[in-house]
Subunit: 246 residues, 3 copies
């Protein structure tokens, strides 16, 4: 299951039934869980002094799409799924079932919960904290330096079930609270209250998220787990049905 | 003309005089037209269940630059030209002479006309419809989900000769009409009328496109085919000279 | 030091103690300075008619990270450092110690000074002029066409010590003057005066940069070399200590 053109360091730890595509490079400090697929042209476990010799752990049942790069020193729970050309730096700890969109760039030193989803081309700055069940859409940037360039790093915090829409920037140290929604192309310069929609430049409160209706219906679009469950495990969907039923 | 390090599935169909660069991977369901150049590190015809076994068709005379990825299930007319690291998903139908800029990401299920141009890092959401002669500039995103995340997908429509400038976001279901211009860094949340310029956040009507003059002259910059013809075939340029002469 | 899977044109000029990673392609017109590291999957010296046969010169002591692409016809001073998947086109002249972030795209025909830093995913349009000691943050675009698409190209000028924060667009021909700061997610449509902060949509003057204090202190955050010196050589840091001491 390891393509003949792949370069696999003999000290790396490859699980059972792992598939490694053409031209991949697997470095010494990589641990790859069982039943994982690594597509072509990936680099897994790239060495860096910033990881202090820590390993890269990829959970079982993962799928890393082609041209992706993971540094050593981070760990991912089971069933990580990525798009193409993803870059993930060192010292990030992520839960299970993280999905990272094509071209996304995780800068390292982040905490990521379970079942987090980023769409394409999302930039997660160093020291970000993204809790479980968060959705982040294309070209969103979570920043960290309040007066760039400086040595101060104030990571963004995004709490459970929050959603950040396309091409929004969240400024350093801002907290995006539970069940909130940041509208597209917004500049978020202060904390977003729980369950509220903010939008604009700078982002201001627009309404409660529950006031947004699913197109052509009178049903609330938020909290989104009341109607959107694609790709989540059955147990979680059942839990949501009880928790978010209308 | 096929580099010795390329991996070419024997069931793929490679036309005459096709050049395939080092380390490329050509999958089973790819059909590549005559006189096409595929540069190094490309993946052509990546399998996906979402394509229902449909082929990938690349028209003749195309040039796909290095590190690009095309899924099976899409088709492109002749003379497709791409930049580097382009990603194109399944079930998109595109006309001839499409140019896709470096890092651009076509998400699939799109209809693309003839002679469409995207510059670098353009994101075309699923179910977008982009008509012929459209120009889309860097970091533009065409979205599709009115209340993300949801199962509703309302593609953007961009009509002939329309232009969308750098880092604008077009919201789901919006129609950008013929000969209109969306200014840079705009958020477009309603239809753009034919021949008008919109800009801002949200985008508002600024003026008629014909009121914008070429720098240092009294000539209208729009419709743009009255003065910009680089890279288009002679027959089309002649047609434009009659249609858009001042 | 050249990996066996790399393809190195015998006419290219590789300095002493150069390391070239797996699957790299080094073209005929590349000149690579001593002690340089080229990571895996890079293409160095990609041919283009637009370079008129000019060479690509990479200064000594450089480090080009994996999946990067440099065209022929450009030159870089010593100690160039790049992230991953960088694209740099022809006819750009850059000074020493340039740092280019992951996914950044330099379109060519640019002048870049010494010690310039771009973070991830920065787009430098053709004919840009970026002076020494400039910082440009993620998803910034320097544009060049005042009425796209056209044959007019008016490059942006960014002067010494200026800073452009995340996801800002600078319109064609605009001059961002010395020691100024462009706030995040701004649209800059006119010249930015020396030492001023601009922000917004379109960007307006906010205050003097020196009025911004380092978080939790009464010290000015700008000029930034008064407190931020990481990665610069000692001689320069000493010079700055005299020049920018508080």
């Amino acid at each position: 299951m390891i393509h003949s053109s792949a370069i696999v360091d003999p000290n790396s730890k490859i699980g059972l039934n792992v598939k490694i595509g053409p031209n991949c490079i697997i470095y010494e400090n990589a641990i790859i869980g069982d039943n994982t697929i690594i597509d072509a042209f990936c680099e897994i476990g790239v060495p860096t002094e910033l990881a202090d010799g820590k390993l890269l752990v990829i959970g079982g049942g993962s799928h890393i799409r082609s041209h992706s790069i993971f540094y050593e020193g981070s760990s991912f729970g089971e069933r990580l799924v990525t798009g193409h050309r993803v870059t993930v730096r060192e010292n990030t700890v992520a839960g299970k079932n993280l999905q990272i969109g094509t071209l996304s760039d995780f800068q390292g030193d982040c905490h990521i919960g379970d079942y987090v989803r980023t769409h394409s081309n999302v930039h997660i700055g160093k020291h970000s904290k993204v809790d479980s069940y968060v959705w982040i859409f294309p070209y969103v940037v979570l920043t960290n330096d309040p007066h760039p360039p400086s040595n101060t790093q104030m990571g963004v915090v995004v709490k459970e079930y929050a959603v950040i829409a396309t091409m929004s920037v969240v400024l350093p140290g801002v907290v995006v609270n539970e069940h909130s929604l940041v509208g597209a192309h917004s500049l978020v310069n202060r904390d977003v209250p729980e369950g509220m929609v903010v939008a604009g430049h700078p982002a201001k409160i627009v309404c409660e998220a529950s006031e947004i209706k699913l197109k052509g219906t009178t049903e609330s679009a938020y909290p989104w787990p009341s109607h959107f469950t694609r790709g989540y495990p059955e147990a979680l969907v059942s839990e949501w049905a009880l928790k978010f039923s209308r």
